[in-house]
């Protein structure tokens, strides 16, 4: 070959991306806060365009729609909001240990449904046969067991054969949904609804159900924080999450940790299902969890494996979700607008992580070269 090799002279690109060292915590939270606030403002602006109301009015509709008139002593709406937050938070907390272990549990929906099913079976079969003091622990144990079993099946296969857990847990959701559909059909007498049952962990009328449901989740939040931060199990989870090889090297039984963590994750999902069925609805249907199992995955991720941050993020997202639905309702638009609203906010927060982990180096800014 007589061709002359021509080396194409390329200019150095304008900037390139480098990995950042750890950012100061207040800067990290500054970036996140900017992302959240900016995306909320944009979405409020879009909704005010859609509804034709001003931005201030839109925010007011959201606030009133979620909290009601607290200053006039009406706490009903506030309790409803807190209960919604508590249920989503419970699911998110269930996923947190699994995520810390880098186990993508996308099956919260199914695990909560199975937990709810366990509670429902107990409520229907044992109503009136056991005193309430005995029935409540029975419901709790059964729903925790059901959730844990549903969570541990993918974990066993992950531990033994390294089966892809994301896809496995996703599929388990739909199997659970069909089991619920089957059960509802049998117990509902072919009507697709099970009439609410009086039995449960909380009375179906009055405000006391809110206290019970919310305080269970508050307790779980503290326990989760201590478990992840101060217990030996929590340490093992974070080592397995960081590096399986390191874990093996220092003598952690990785398989055991995976299975144990998923037992816990599934069990807490089971508790969420129990709150939904035995505490809130006193009945079950295929939409009882209503996609919150998937939202919880995002919440757990936004919470950075810290239960208190998760709680904070969940409170914001639930507020936006309920509020945006009210805004859409207020001018007869479809309330699925809430999903768009929340979706955009989450996408912005997910995207802003880039600026926390990476930084730009510009062409001119290099010193000492040349």
């Amino acid at each position: 070959m007589t061709e002359k090799t021509v080396i194409k002279q390329r200019r150095e690109p304008l900037f390139h991306i480098v990995k950042r060292d750890d950012m100061v915590w207040w800067k990290v939270w500054g970036v996140r806060a900017i992302a959240i606030v900016a995306s909320i403002l944009v979405m409020v602006f879009i909704s005010s365009l859609l509804t034709g109301k001003g931005m201030g009015k839109t925010v007011e509709i959201m606030y009133r729609g979620v909290f009601g008139r607290i200053e006039k002593g009406s706490f009903k709406m506030l309790f409803k909001y807190l209960e919604e937050t508590a249920i989503l938070l419970c699911l998110a907390l269930a996923l947190t240990p699994a995520f810390k272990m880098k186990f993508w549990n996308c099956g919260a929906e199914g695990q909560a449904l199975m937990g709810g099913l366990g509670a429902m079976v107990c409520m229907i079969e044992l109503e009136g046969k056991l005193p309430t003091a005995v029935l409540i622990p029975v419901i709790a144990v059964v729903s925790i067991l059901c959730g844990a079993i549903w969570g541990v099946i993918p974990a066993i296969f992950k531990a033994l054969f390294d089966t892809n857990e994301t896809l496995f847990t996703l599929m388990m959701n739909y199997i659970a949904t069909q089991i619920i559909a089957y059960y509802v059909y049998i117990k509902g007498g072919g009507s697709n609804v099970i009439q609410p049952v009086e039995a449960g962990i909380a009375p179906s009328t009055g405000n006391s159900r809110y206290y019970i449901n919310i305080s269970i989740v508050i307790a779980i939040t503290f326990i989760a924080y201590i478990y992840l931060k101060y217990s030996k199990h929590g340490y093992e989870i974070s080592v397995v999450g960081e590096s399986r090889n390191t874990a093996r090297y220092i003598g952690i039984n990785v398989k055991k940790v995976i299975i144990r963590t998923m037992l816990i994750s599934g069990a807490v999902c089971g508790i969420a299902g129990m709150i939904l069925v035995a505490g809130k609805d006193h009945s079950i249907r295929t939409a009882t969890v209503g996609g919150q199992g998937f939202t919880a995955i995002m919440m757990a991720w936004l919470g950075q494996c810290n239960p208190f941050i998760t709680a904070f993020m969940t409170a914001i997202i639930v507020f936006l979700n309920l509020g945006a639905a009210k805004v859409a309702d207020s001018c007869y638009l479809n309330s699925a607008f809430a999903d768009i609203f929340v979706g955009v906010v989450i996408l912005c927060v997910v995207g802003c992580e880039f600026f926390i982990r990476y930084s730009f180096k510009f062409r001119g800014s290099r010193k000492g070269d040349k």
Binding site: N164, L167, M172, Q178, I297, A336, D339
Partner: protein, 329 residues
């Protein structure tokens, strides 16, 4: 009745085929796009929006509508809508290296929200008086059949009686299969999914491949949504009617072992499994509900078996779900 069953299975299977072929293309580049269910909703609703305004522009009069435009407008709208979502996904996961699972799930929430929002509010926004969207005219153009099909007996019914999107799905699957396995582009794409660092060292533009794979995959998946509303649902939009077909498409990717050619057979099999409960004599409604879990159970079994056997050609792309950063060691 068997012929009817097969036709029905094919009709139900086509959206899954589109979704899974789209997802296969994306996964071959190493990206697990869990936004596919949302993208399929967006594809469906973009097509609906396009044809809604086209029908309005024609004064809702079928005589004024041009068959070619009536098909082309929704078709292009569906592609544009789903590519936009695909671009958002690839910008976040490729350029910003965000977590793929979270981004995908957020996009699914977002996409389903978009679908239901416009599906429920389009008539109001467009100033119409109807309370729901029924684009039966456009749907008529979409489900136009080959004229002599019904004269050929069972052969015509099974092979020739479908809408053009069904044939397009099979053609796309075959093309994708050929491109992936027989061309340089396909080889490069697979290299990107298996080991982006190696591909990068070999001079392949990893970012470009990932962007194109995700966007082309999204466009294909979006057509699945379009096929569902136009050919299956006769142009009638009902919120959440598309259901969990998007997740089933992701299940089908595993079932097909990341091979588009297997996905063709797999999608019709899934369609048959979804539908079998209606054709087995003596099943109660309750048992039918249990039957509907069959596709998922089969998928799990496949997933477990391939992970147990560890055959190399049956494995997912090695770098699936992991972000690639060139300067990382």
């Amino acid at each position: 009745m068997i012929i009817q069953f097969i036709c029905r299975a094919i009709l139900l299977g086509v959206p899954l085929l589109y979704g899974s072929v789209g997802e296969i293309v994306t996964e071959k580049s190493g990206h697990l796009n869990l936004g596919i269910p949302g993208i399929m909703y967006v594809g469906a609703i973009s097509g609906i929006i396009g044809s809604f305004f086209y029908e309005q522009a024609c004064g809702n009069d079928i005589a004024k509508m041009n068959a070619f435009l009536a098909v082309l407008i929704p078709f292009l709208c569906a592609i544009v809508g789903s590519v936009i979502i695909g671009l958002i996904y690839s910008f976040l996961t490729v350029t910003l290296r965000a977590n793929q699972n979270v981004t995908g799930l957020a996009l699914t929430t977002f996409g389903i929200g978009l679908g239901n929002f416009f599906g429920g509010s389009l008539t109001k926004i467009g100033g119409g008086s109807e309370t729901f969207i029924a684009l039966t005219r456009t749907s008529g153009f979409f489900s136009a059949k080959i004229p002599f099909a019904d004269k050929l007996g069972w052969f015509g019914d099974i092979f020739l009686s479908h809408d053009f999107l069904t044939y397009l799905a099979i053609i796309i699957a075959v093309i994708v299969s050929l491109v992936l396995n027989r061309t340089r582009v396909g080889l490069n794409l697979r290299a990107v999914g298996e080991s982006p660092a190696t591909a990068d060292a070999a001079g392949i533009n990893v970012t470009r491949y990932k962007y194109f794979a995700t966007c082309i995959g999204s466009a294909i998946a979006g057509l699945g949504g379009l096929q569902y509303v136009m050919a299956y649902a006769n142009g009638v939009w009902t919120n959440n009617a598309f259901g969990d077909r998007g997740w089933m498409a992701i299940a089908l990717v595993i079932f097909a072992l990341w091979k588009p050619s297997v996905a063709i057979v797999g999608s019709f099999l899934f369609g048959a499994l979804c539908n079998a409960n209606n054709y087995i004599q003596g099943l109660g409604t309750a048992t039918q509900e249990l039957f509907k879990m069959l596709p998922y159970v089969v998928t799990i079994i496949v997933l477990v078996v391939i992970s147990m056997r560890k055959r190399r050609e049956f494995q997912p792309p090695a770098h699936l779900g992991l972000p690639y950063f060139r300067e990382e060691r």
